[in-house]
C-alpha cells in the first residue's frame, strides 16, 4: 500500500478537519472552537494496516470517531470504499456500517454489563435470524479463542484480555473490510497485549481486512502496522513506512517519540536521544499565529518556523511537515 490516493483504497481521508465547540465564556460571547484535527490526508488500502500515532490530545481518537461517522467532519472528506461518508443518508450509512467496525480502548466500558456475550457479539448483525446469528457468534468466538459455552455468560465473568477478544469478535462478526482499533491494547497488561496483537495479526491474515490502528505506543505499531501517520496537535507531521520512520525519523516530534520508547540494553540508544526536548506545553496560540504548532517544544526551532510548514514528500511514500528536515 502507498499513502497516495488509490482507487482501491478502503478508506481515504482528504484534508479532514474535526472541531469541537467550546463552552461559551459568557452568554453573548461568540462561539469558540477547538480544532482537534486539521487538514489530515491519508488512505488505507485493502488488507493493509495503517497506524495513527501521537500523544494524548493529538487528535487520534477524534479522527477515529470522524472515520466511524460518530463525529461530523467540519471540512474535508472521508471516503469509505469510494463512498463519501457525508453524502450518505442515515439508512445508507447504517447499511454500510457492516463493512467497517471498531474496537474500543477500554474493554471494561465497551461491553454492556447487562448483555450476554451472545447478545454483545451479534449486535452488529441486524437483519439476521436468531439461530444463524448464534452460529455466527459461536464461529467468531472460536476464532478469538473463546468457546460456545461462553455465549451465555456475562462480561463480568471475563478478564480484560478476554473482554477485548469479545470486542474483537463483535467487530469481526459482519466480516468487515476495515476495522478501526482505538488503542485496543493500551488498557491491557503487557503480557496480554502481545496475545491480543498476535490475534489481530492472525485474524488479518485469515480475513484480509484492513486496520486503522490508533496508538501512542510505537513498539505496538512497529509490530502490527507497515505504515504510520504521526499526528501532533491535530496535524499530520510525518507519514511513511513504519520501519523507515522508526529507523530515521524526519520530524523532530517523531524523533522525540522514538527516543521515548523504552529499549533493552541502554548502550544502544541513538545519539539523537541526547537532544534536549524543551519542557513546555504545546503552544495554544499556534493555530492563531500561523506558526508551526511544534515550535515551542522543538529543539531545532528557527525563524522559518514562524510559518507553519506543510507536508512535503521526501520520496518513497514518505512525507514530513518540517522546514528543517
Amino acid at each position: 500500500m502507498s499513502i497516495s490516493h488509490q482507487a482501491s483504497a478502503v478508506l481515504s481521508v482528504e484534508d479532514l478537519s474535526v472541531r469541537y465547540r467550546l463552552p461559551r465564556r459568557s452568554l453573548f460571547a461568540a462561539p469558540e472552537w477547538f480544532a482537534a484535527v486539521t487538514g489530515a490526508t491519508f488512505s488505507v488500502g485493502k488488507g493493509a494496516s495503517l497506524a495513527l500515532v501521537g500523544e494524548s490530545g493529538s487528535g487520534k481518537s477524534s479522527l477515529a470517531k470522524a472515520v466511524m461517522g460518530l463525529e461530523p467532519a467540519s471540512a474535508g472528506a472521508i471516503r469509505l470504499f469510494g463512498q463519501d461518508l457525508a453524502s450518505l443518508s442515515a439508512n445508507e450509512l447504517r447499511e454500510l456500517r457492516r463493512r467497517f467496525q471498531m474496537v474500543f480502548q477500554d474493554p471494561y466500558s465497551s461491553l454492556d454489563p447487562r448483555h450476554s456475550i451472545q447478545r454483545i457479539v451479534i449486535e452488529p448483525l441486524r437483519d439476521v435470524a436468531r439461530t444463524e446469528a448464534r452460529e455466527r457468534a459461536a464461529e467468531v468466538l472460536s476464532h478469538v479463542g473463546l468457546g460456545v459455552n461462553d455465549l451465555g455468560k456475562y462480561p463480568h465473568q471475563f478478564s480484560g484480555g478476554q473482554r477485548q477478544r469479545i470486542a474483537i469478535a463483535r467487530a469481526l462478526v459482519t466480516k468487515p473490510d476495515l476495522i478501526v482499533a482505538d488503542e485496543p491494547v493500551s488498557a491491557l497488561d503487557v503480557s496480554v497485549q502481545a496475545q491480543v496483537l498476535n490475534l489481530m495479526q492472525d485474524l488479518q491474515a485469515q480475513y484480509g481486512m484492513a486496520y486503522l490502528f490508533i496508538s501512542h505506543d510505537l513498539a505496538v505499531v512497529e509490530y502490527l502496522c507497515e505504515d504510520v501517520v504521526v499526528l501532533y496537535r491535530g496535524r499530520v507531521v510525518e507519514i511513511g513506512k513504519t520501519r523507515e520512520v522508526m529507523k530515521d525519523p524526519a520530524h523532530p516530534y517523531t524523533q522525540e517519540l522514538v527516543n521515548a520508547m523504552p529499549r533493552l540494553g541502554g548502550g544502544k540508544r541513538r545519539p539523537a536521544a541526547k537532544q534536549q526536548v524543551k519542557a513546555g506545553s504545546p503552544d495554544e496560540n499556534a493555530n492563531a499565529t500561523g506558526a508551526c504548532p511544534y515550535m515551542s517544544r522543538c529543539p531545532r526551532a528557527a525563524e522559518v518556523c514562524r510559518v507553519a510548514p506543510s507536508l512535503r514528500a521526501l520520496g518513497n511514500g514518505r512525507s514530513v511537515a518540517c522546514h528543517l528536515s
Binding site: 460518530l70 447504517r94 461491553l111 447487562r114 450476554s116 449486535e123 452488529p124 451465555g152 456475562y154 463480568h156
Partner: protein
C-alpha cells in the same frame, strides 16, 4: 471435615447473601400487604361503618386485637381497609411518575438540544411546585378525592423520575458500549431500550419503592387538609392524623397505623433492593 462443611455453608450463604434475606422478607411483607388488601374486600373482623360509642378508645383486647378508635371502630379492620387505598395510591402515583418520567427523561437525553433543555426546565418548574399546591389546584378543578390526590402525587413524581432517568442515561450514553452499538448500526430507540433502560433500571426500582412510601404519606398529608382520600374511606394517613388528638389517652391509635406504614415501606424497600440485585447479572453467579 467440619471445616470443609462450614466453609461450603459460608460460601453458599455468601453467594445467596443478604439479597436473599431481603427478597424473602421484603417479598413476604409485600405479599402480606396485597393479601390483606384483597381479604379486606371480603372480610374484616368488625364492620368499620358502624360506630360504637361505648367501646371507644379501647386498648388492645381479644375482641379488638389492636384496640378501637374514638368512634369505637376496630383498628385492625380500619387498617385492613386502609391498606386498599394505600396500595391504590402507591401503585397509581408511582406508575404515573415512573412511566411519564422515564419517557420524558429518555426522550430528553435522546433528542438533546433545546428539547432536553425545555423538558428539564419544565420538570424543574413542576418539581418546585409543592405537591399540596398542585393538589389544591386539581381539587378546585375536579373536586377533592383519592383520584385527585393520586394524580397530584403522580404528577409530582414525574420530575423525580425524569431527572433520575436523564442523569443515569447521560452517564450510560458516555460509555463506550453505546458508541459500539451505534457503530454496529443500531438506532437510538434500540440503544435507549436495550442499553440505557436496563442499566438505569436499578436506580429506578429503588426510587419507585421510596416513592411508593412517600405517596402513602403524601396522601395522608393531603387528607389532613381535606384534599386526599375523603372520609368515610379509612386511610392510614388520616388514622394517624386523627390519632394526634387522642395521643395522651390512647397511644395505640398512633402506633398501629404508624407501624403499618413503617412495615409497608420497609417491605417495599427490601423488596426493591433485592429486585435490583436480582436484575444485575453481576450479582447472580453461574448464570
Amino acid at each position: 471435615m467440619i471445616g470443609a462443611q462450614t466453609g461450603r455453608f459460608a460460601k453458599i450463604r455468601y453467594r445467596l447473601g443478604a439479597s436473599w434475606l431481603s427478597l424473602w422478607l421484603g417479598g413476604f411483607i409485600t405479599l402480606c400487604l396485597f393479601a390483606t388488601a384483597i381479604l379486606s374486600y371480603f372480610w374484616t373482623p368488625h364492620s368499620v361503618a358502624r360506630m360504637n360509642m361505648r367501646a371507644r378508645l379501647q386498648a388492645p383486647s381479644l375482641d379488638h386485637l389492636l384496640g378501637t378508635d374514638h368512634f369505637g371502630r376496630d383498628i385492625l379492620s380500619l387498617l385492613m381497609i386502609g391498606s386498599q387505598s394505600a396500595l391504590k395510591i402507591g401503585i397509581v402515583a408511582v406508575a404515573i411518575g415512573l412511566v411519564l418520567g422515564v419517557l420524558l427523561g429518555l426522550a430528553a437525553t435522546a433528542r438533546g438540544g433545546w428539547f432536553e433543555e425545555l423538558a428539564m426546565r419544565a420538570s424543574d418548574l413542576l418539581f418546585a411546585f409543592p405537591v399540596v399546591l398542585l393538589a389544591i389546584m386539581l381539587a378546585a378543578t375536579f373536586g377533592p378525592g383519592s383520584v385527585t390526590s393520586m394524580i397530584a402525587i403522580g404528577v409530582h413524581n414525574i420530575p423525580i423520575f425524569a431527572r433520575l432517568t436523564r442523569g443515569g442515561a447521560k452517564s450510560i450514553l458516555a460509555r463506550e458500549f453505546v458508541m459500539a452499538s451505534r457503530v454496529a448500526g443500531r438506532s437510538s430507540s434500540y440503544i435507549a431500550a436495550l442499553h440505557v433502560l436496563p442499566n438505569v433500571l436499578n436506580i429506578l426500582v429503588v426510587q419507585a419503592t421510596i416513592s411508593f412510601a412517600i405517596a402513602i404519606l403524601a396522601d395522608a398529608a393531603l387528607g389532613y387538609l381535606g384534599l386526599g382520600t375523603q372520609p368515610p374511606t379509612p386511610t392510614w394517613g388520616r388514622m394517624l392524623k386523627d390519632a394526634q388528638s387522642f395521643l395522651s389517652q390512647s397511644p395505640y391509635l398512633a402506633i398501629f397505623p404508624g407501624l403499618a406504614i413503617a412495615f409497608t415501606v420497609l417491605g417495599l424497600n427490601l423488596f426493591g433492593d433485592a429486585l435490583r440485585d436480582l436484575l444485575d447479572p453481576r450479582s447472580s453467579q453461574g448464570r
